[in-house]
Subunit: 157 residues, 2 copies
């Protein structure tokens, strides 16, 4: 899984058209939404994640807890985003991971999840401080500690 975290003053989105027949989520997820002062997590679920979807959900939740802890926020947007990887998981796997990640976080976070399988208009802002954009590569590795993720903090360029 590829994650791009953007510390945002706001994120808003609205679905426009379905991306493919039978692909688009329509239940239990809003067709539009807005959140203020949040971490926007752009998410690409990858083929390698399909070896253990539960593990990648757990490792992704760990990363989100780390990042939101550093940024001192409990507000998260989960935004499916195909453009962070060349090797995507199947749509069914991606939807499972996104739903399960939301469930994992719902108890102690305010979560806005954008629906999978839709073209969407959106607007996002980035606060611009040195930790306001972070990328992570999360794997299904179940080893303890940070083995299930690879930090990729980079100069912003």
């Amino acid at each position: 899984m590829r994650l791009l975290f953007v510390h945002s003053d706001h994120l808003e989105f609205e679905t426009t058209t379905e991306a493919g027949a039978g692909l688009a989520e329509t239940e239990d997820v809003p067709m539009e939404g807005r959140m203020e002062d949040c971490v926007t997590a752009f998410v690409s679920v990858e083929r390698e994640d399909e070896t253990d979807l539960d593990a990648v959900v757990e490792n992704a939740a760990d990363e989100l807890r780390d990042v939101t802890g550093q940024l001192n926020t409990r507000k998260v947007v989960l935004y499916p985003y195909a453009h962070l990887s060349d090797d995507l998981a199947s749509p069914d796997s991606a939807k499972t991971v996104l739903r399960d990640l939301q469930s994992e976080l719902d108890a102690d976070y305010d979560v806005l999840r954008a629906p999978f399988g839709w073209y969407k208009s959106f607007e996002v802002s980035c606060k611009g401080h040195p930790l306001s954009e972070l990328s992570r590569h999360v794997t299904p590795d179940r080893t303890d500690g940070d083995a299930g993720s690879e930090t990729a903090d980079r100069a912003p360029s």
Copy 2:
């Protein structure tokens, strides 16, 4: 090179702090800017591009001409973005490519280039139609035609 094109109602940015000593561009590039109704091109220059920087500039310009032709706009934001690749070029190579790409386009495009090597706040919108987000992998391949690029149009997920 990894390119992510976002057809935008607007993009605006403002530099905040330098990312590293001696890394940040400070000349011939604005410290803040805004463009309306444009293609925002997020750009990661990669190590493989260093085999032939001129070729990758030419191939990237071809891609931009293709995409802006489809979207019927002559307004382009070049936005350096480290988070699209795991294997980045050196900062010097990246700066050369971004400057040369701007020069290549300046004759017939309205180009806003964001400076390399700065943390920046930004706000970007995406129009949300099916062609409003496109990713491309551009290489230094000099073969004629489209051999220097790999189309990666994806469902938006």
